[in-house]
Symmetry: none
Subunit: 195 residues, 4 copies
DNA sequence: AATGAATGAGCATTCATTCAT
DNA sequence: TATGAATGAATGCTCATTCAT
């Protein structure tokens, strides 16, 4: 009798996590531009007060959501690298194309979140370290397979593909993506480092 | 003696142009997210009513401003190409790096506008053709100097550099940009097309 | 060559008339509440400036439109009376029911305009004489056929039927209207005047 | 000592009620046409945000106010009927005239609210059931004293008297109202039902 | 005479944030 | 700890009216 209404409460960490997840979904759907406390509360199935209780400001909410996205992306890359400790250039190209096309999971659109993150960081210095980290994990992962310049070039190209991917009226096709990645990643004997 | 109260000019075309230009500046400064009719009116030195009289909706204002930015970019590329009808890979790389670093003119930040355009287009289908055009003019210009795959790869890399450029806590340096462009643009004898 | 562009202009009276007619239509469609200069200009196929050029204020426009409606109504009643110089009570009832059901012509909804007129007059003293005239022409017409008290009662009942007619989810049916009119108009031997 | 700054009451139900009451007063004074959130907030002595917090849209506010007016009217009629379970025709006529002249209470003008309700319902389908209810309670009350046709006729006549009452430059006098009601209500031996 | 441009006031509504409970 | 109530500051947009041309 006494412990009935107490269910599911008293787990602030879980609620905070759920709010960040809901915020991620809202950003993917409506953008940082369209994010409101109300939209998050609604998406999370929580009362409005919960959003401001656990996150002092809207920017905190955005930061938490984007951090979550970056964490997930980092974990994804880590797993990905563990699963494929060695890849030749061609295999790498194919798998990167898969990643870009399939996004990371079915719930969140990595394309969108990456672009939102970078643009949000432009106006919000507090997000810059997060953007840096996104860049770094991408670069580091690629660096595992290719030389430094190639990794930087591939990371830039992938960001560009993502950005154009969200905006174009006809998304890039797999062959187009593969062609770009191949041009960037295939070792170039004419360059010193690129062995 | 000539400057009376000076209200009500009577040159609608010039006012429309001035409003679009002001909107560009506001987007560069505060982003599409921070764009308001009042900010535009203020930036243009016009009354609030002017913004809504000449542009039915805020999206119309955004579209006009971004179209203007794309038009200017297209013109810039056209001039650029006319000024340099022939360039070898190394010269192209250097000049592209200059463009990315110096932006296009002193008033507007091309980096920012490009990223804002792409992200705005994600939520505003009406802007997609504009995003397509941005992609196309970039690609076409590069295509003049390099093969198709290289042009596509360089365009993607440049978009990525722009996007990361606006967000990172430390912007990319010229040597870093040159290294990326060199990796992408230097002809790769190992690839068939890349002559 | 000289008299081509001059066509259709220079007939202010006709333009004023057309604007009043357009205003009537807008009131019938959207109510006095929804009336705007722009809506009138659009309905009349004239430029916005025409509405304020010929009518100093919005209230003038409203007054002109309602006066036109009352004039038309008065003319209609005059014709109606001329067409039926004598009617017994039963015929009168049937014809009044027809009027209430068919409205006055196909373009304008008399039900609506009457109610709009009365309510507009409540907040606009300038319209009161018009409301008085509407009441008077109704009363006078009825008075031609019945005694004074019956005419007043029938006029009130008809206004009530109109008012309820515009608002109810199911409009009054003809039998219901006839029943009401019969109760009001059929001579009542129990009353002195009502011979 | 008890009355501190007193901000933020914490009695939402009371505030909602107070807002609806204030809206009623604004409608009586300025009409649905002149109703604004600001006018309501001002009338209620509450901040602007209160009006939109408790009522999602202006139409919701209008609906709440008119529902309140109808509820009050229904209660008034119920009491009225309870107070006068039996009345002969002449007494009924006199009392109805009193009602029409004195309105229902000192604060709100029943004449105006009824007309506003009917006309508002014309453009707002959501209000139609309310208009129906107004008609129904009027009819049902009259039906308690007279036959069906007489009740319908008297209800229509009373609506008409109300409508004309708000608009005419000289309101109907008591003798005029009594004459109309007498003509409608006095049993007519010439009609079958009208016993 | 006629009209499109121009504007300032105002409006419904949204929303981040604060706070009483 | 948690939350619904509360609010004041915007915001996009409308519009009556004025006026230059």
């Amino acid at each position: 009798m006494t412990d009935k209404p107490a269910r599911r409460r008293r787990d602030p960490a879980a609620r905070i996590e759920a709010l960040a997840a809901a915020t991620e979904r809202v950003i993917a759907t409506k953008g940082v531009e369209g994010l409101t406390h109300r939209a998050v509360a609604n998406e999370a199935g929580m009362p409005l007060g919960a959003t401001t209780y656990h996150f002092a400001t809207k920017d905190d909410l955005i930061a938490a959501a984007l951090k979550r996205a970056v964490d997930r992306f980092a974990q994804y890359l880590k797993d990905w690298r563990a699963a494929h400790p060695r890849m030749d250039a061609e295999e790498l190209i194919e798998r990167l194309a898969d990643s870009l096309l399939h996004s990371i999971d079915d719930e969140h659109d990595q394309y969108v979140l990456e672009s939102e993150l970078y643009l949000a960081a432009l106006r919000r210095p507090a997000l810059r370290p997060l953007a840096d980290r996104y860049t770094a994990v991408s670069y580091d992962t690629l660096r595992h397979y290719v030389d430094a310049d190639t990794a930087a070039a591939a990371a830039a190209a992938m960001s560009g593909i993502s950005l154009q991917g969200v905006a174009r009226s006809t998304p890039l096709t797999r062959p187009e993506i593969v062609a770009i990645l191949r041009r960037v990643i295939t070792p170039n004997p004419a360059l010193p480092d690129s062995a």
